[in-house]
């Protein structure tokens, strides 16, 4: 989603005044109202990217001011907040390209506030809120509402994703330019939950988006191949009598969209890649884009890295998600593709659902799972521990690449003096047991209930302000 330029630090001309189409510059200031005294934070005994000796890091007014050996950095000023990292790993704050915050419309499952709280506790400093709210975020009114609600909470930069088509119906383009030019400065558009399946609409959306420097994030699912689908089409679903969601329904759309994006010279982002074959299609398609492979990006969810359709036995809909959990061979291929960079980043597809929408018979239950507070742990378990990624790699897939894809100038930055202080501190040795009831989301539909997971976010810093510390968050006025 979004855009260029420095977020937190104020620009003068906001794009509100710009003509609705082709907003070029200013945009979404990610969070603050402008430079103001944010005080200072002294982070002690932290290991940036898990490499080398621990250091102390001082942030002043939202910017990293000093990095030096432990004990060498002196807190300046009176109002210094001290964070003892206790030897933990220091990473750039995470950026999630794919969340569902359910506001407006389903505030019984999640709100911008509860979702932002979960995000901060999960190490995130920016999240993108999908457009499938009620009403749909297919106009500037809704995107600005979400944007403002996020700023009010102040725990994480909340960037609304705009719908590609009116009402997510796939028939008529939504006013992408107006949303891009709104205060929310929308730069990521998606009908997520639905596929933009009409090739003409998809082509036009891609072409049109090039003038906005936006990216179209596609939920790749050929609907004619998934009518009534309930589970990954394969042995498990056949045995359980669940209508199959074939891998080919995803792969055929991704192949088509790679070709359309190259033709349009547009940027394409593939949401929640779930199959081995899609990784192969991306391997084929990325290098063929005229602007280079980075113009086609892709995300994988933590649950598709860790969980498989084996869990469907027993029919507990906590395991129901779209795209569905697939096979262990898919999960392994996705982990390899993420390590290789064919899949650029991890996105949670955090999808809270009220109890009555989950505790039902399988077909009646809504698809989706919580993800914000468990993402890092799942990445550590599936990628870091097996040696597929080091902490640098984790920073790349959780923060740097998603920030680049969404054109966020002040997120996913190096941990260096002069850079914005958007940071996460991770206790890499922690082990914890997931309890849905203890998570910050209003809903509690985590598929990891009772599971022991490694690593825990100890603190999150957003532009020099501590937003989360252990299990508590510090909201601020907007």
């Amino acid at each position: 989603m979004t855009e260029q330029d420095a977020g937190g630090h104020e620009e003068s001309g906001r794009s509100d005044d710009a003509p609705p189409v082709v907003p070029t510059g200013a945009g979404r200031s990610a969070g603050g109202d402008g430079p103001r005294d944010r005080g200072s934070v002294l982070i002690t005994n932290a290991v940036p990217y898990g490499e080398g000796d621990p250091v102390d890091v001082l942030t002043v007014n939202g910017v990293i001011a000093e990095i030096g050996p432990v004990g060498s950095v002196r807190a300046s000023g009176e109002a210094t907040d001290v964070l003892d990292a206790a030897g933990g790993v220091l990473l750039p704050g995470f950026v999630d390209l794919h969340t569902h915050l359910r506001e407006p419309g389903r505030e019984d499952a999640e709100t911008v506030r509860s979702g932002a709280t979960a995000a901060a506790l999960g190490g995130y400093t920016a999240v993108f809120a999908m457009a499938n709210t009620d009403p749909v975020a297919d106009n500037a009114l809704v995107t600005e509402h979400v944007w403002r609600a996020g700023r009010q909470v102040g725990l994480v930069d909340v960037h609304p994703v705009g719908a590609v088509t009116v009402g997510l119906e796939g028939a008529k383009l939504a006013e992408l330019g107006t949303m891009a030019g709104s205060a929310a400065a929308v730069r990521v558009f998606s009908d997520d939950g639905h596929c933009v399946d009409d090739p003409l609409i998809m082509r036009r959306a891609l072409e049109y988006s090039t003038a906005l420097d936006a990216v179209i994030a596609q939920h790749a699912e050929e609907p004619r191949l998934t009518a009534g689908a309930q589970a990954h089409e394969g042995e498990r679903a056949a045995r359980l009598g669940l209508a199959g969601w074939p891998s080919s329904a995803e792969e055929s759309i991704v192949a088509r969209d790679c070709i359309l994006a190259a033709h349009a010279g547009a940027r394409l982002h593939v949401c929640h890649v779930s199959t081995e074959g899609t990784a192969d299609v991306l391997r084929w398609g990325k290098p063929r884009h005229p602007s280079g492979p980075a113009a086609i990006s892709a995300e994988v969810t933590p649950h598709h890295l860790l969980l498989t359709d084996e869990r469907l036995t027993g029919y507990d809909p906590v395991n129901k998600v779209n795209p569905p959990l697939r096979t262990s061979s898919d999960a392994a291929a996705l982990a390899d593709a993420l390590a290789e960079g064919v899949i650029d980043c991890v996105a949670t597809d955090h999808a809270p659902h009220a109890v009555q929408d989950k505790d039902a018979e399988w077909a009646a239950a809504r698809p989706g799972m919580l993800g914000l507070q468990t993402a890092l742990s799942v990445v550590v378990r599936t990628m870091l521990r097996p040696g597929l990624l080091d902490w640098r790699g984790v920073a790349r897939v959780m923060s740097e690449r998603p920030a680049e894809i969404a054109r966020l100038p002040d997120q996913g930055r190096p941990i260096e003096v002069g850079e914005p202080a958007n940071l996460a501190i991770v206790d890499q040795d922690a082990e914890w047991t997931v309890r849905g009831a203890e998570l910050a989301s209003i809903a509690s539909n985590t598929p990891y209930e009772g599971m022991r997971l490694p690593a825990k976010v100890r603190a999150t810093v957003l532009r020099g302000r501590v937003t989360a510390r252990d299990t508590a968050t510090s909201p601020t006025e907007g």
Binding site: Q230, E233, L240, G244, D359, A360, E361, A363
Partner: protein, 312 residues
């Protein structure tokens, strides 16, 4: 046995006990003027049908009544289900009202499993009377009872299951049970009506009914739903009938002792020719008759014998 949710994983010894009990029930009732046993007096069986059904619902009702249980029938149309009540709330309501056993027919696969988990600890038993495309275990048991009666034994017999295996809960339940009881199963269907991963099932797969019929001891014809044509599963009813229907000419390929089964409802002229359905080799009416005895046996094992035997 606390619930009967499927035949997948059902202990063949338990299945055999049920079949033996069904036979006993049948012998006991045979020739009685008053078909009533006192076995389940004071017990309450509630059937809940979210899909239309004639034989299964009637069969359960008779099974309960012939054993003196109080049987209450709930159908989705005339209940709170029509007002949007969730399956979970309906289940808890029925259990709270005093059901000893809930018999559930539901279009969603796995609904009987969910029901059993919601009723965990209440002591209410659940019988799956057909859940989506998943299982229909009482049908498989009554088919096995019929085959045993006609063929003497099931182990070593070869059974063809012909038709829409993909969407059929009857096929799934029969595959598991017949394999567990030692039969060889061959499924015959066009490729579009076979599920993904069928290679992992304990069956052989064929696309030619003519090639299979001479070697089988029984052939089970599955109903083909006309609405399947919208999904392009096959080109036309005519082509399906020509390719996979049990015509008179095809029936002549069967061995003399071979049995023809159909779970009903039949589409005469589609998957089975009328004269074949009515021929002596057809056991279709016996299937219905045995259905009552098998369901009596199941109710007995769940509600009356559970304490002593404590299987599963």
């Amino acid at each position: 046995m606390r619930h009967l949710l499927g035949t997948d994983g059902l202990d063949p010894a338990v299945a055999t006990q049920v079949l033996d009990s069904a036979e006993t029930m049948k012998q006991t009732l045979l020739g009685r003027e008053v078909r009533k046993l006192p076995t389940l007096r004071g017990r309450t069986v509630i059937t809940v049908f979210y899909e239309n059904s004639t034989r299964t619902r009637v069969s359960f009702e008779l099974a309960g009544k012939w054993m003196s249980a109080d049987v209450v029938n709930v159908s989705a149309g005339g209940s709170s289900v029509g007002k949007g009540e969730s399956l979970r709330d309906t289940a808890l309501t029925l259990s709270a009202a005093g059901a000893d056993c809930v018999v559930l027919r539901h279009p969603s696969s796995g609904s009987a499993h969910r029901l059993a988990s919601w009723l965990d600890g209440t002591g209410t038993a659940v019988i799956n009377a057909g859940d989506g495309m998943h299982e229909h275990p009482t049908q498989a048991l009554l088919d096995a009872a019929t085959l045993r009666e006609r063929l003497g034994d099931i182990a070593g017999r070869r059974v063809a299951i012909v038709g829409d295996v993909l969407h059929s809960r009857v096929a799934r339940s029969n595959v598991h049970l017949l394999a567990a009881l030692g039969a060889e199963v061959v499924v015959v269907a066009p490729p579009t009506l076979l599920p993904a991963g069928i290679d992992s099932w304990p069956v052989t797969v064929s696309h030619s009914i003519d090639a299979e019929l001479p070697a089988v001891d029984a052939v089970m014809m599955l109903r083909v739903q006309a609405e399947r044509m919208h999904g392009a599963f096959f080109p036309s009813a005519r082509e399906y009938s020509v390719g996979f229907g049990l015509t008179e000419a095809r029936a002549a390929l069967l061995a003399e002792h071979a049995v023809v089964l159909h779970p009903g409802p039949m589409m005469r002229g589609m998957e089975i020719a009328a004269p074949v359905a009515d021929a002596p080799s057809s056991a279709i009416a016996e299937q219905v008759r045995n259905g009552v005895h098998v369901r009596m046996a199941i109710l007995y094992h769940l509600l009356a014998a559970g304490a002593e035997e404590g299987q599963q």
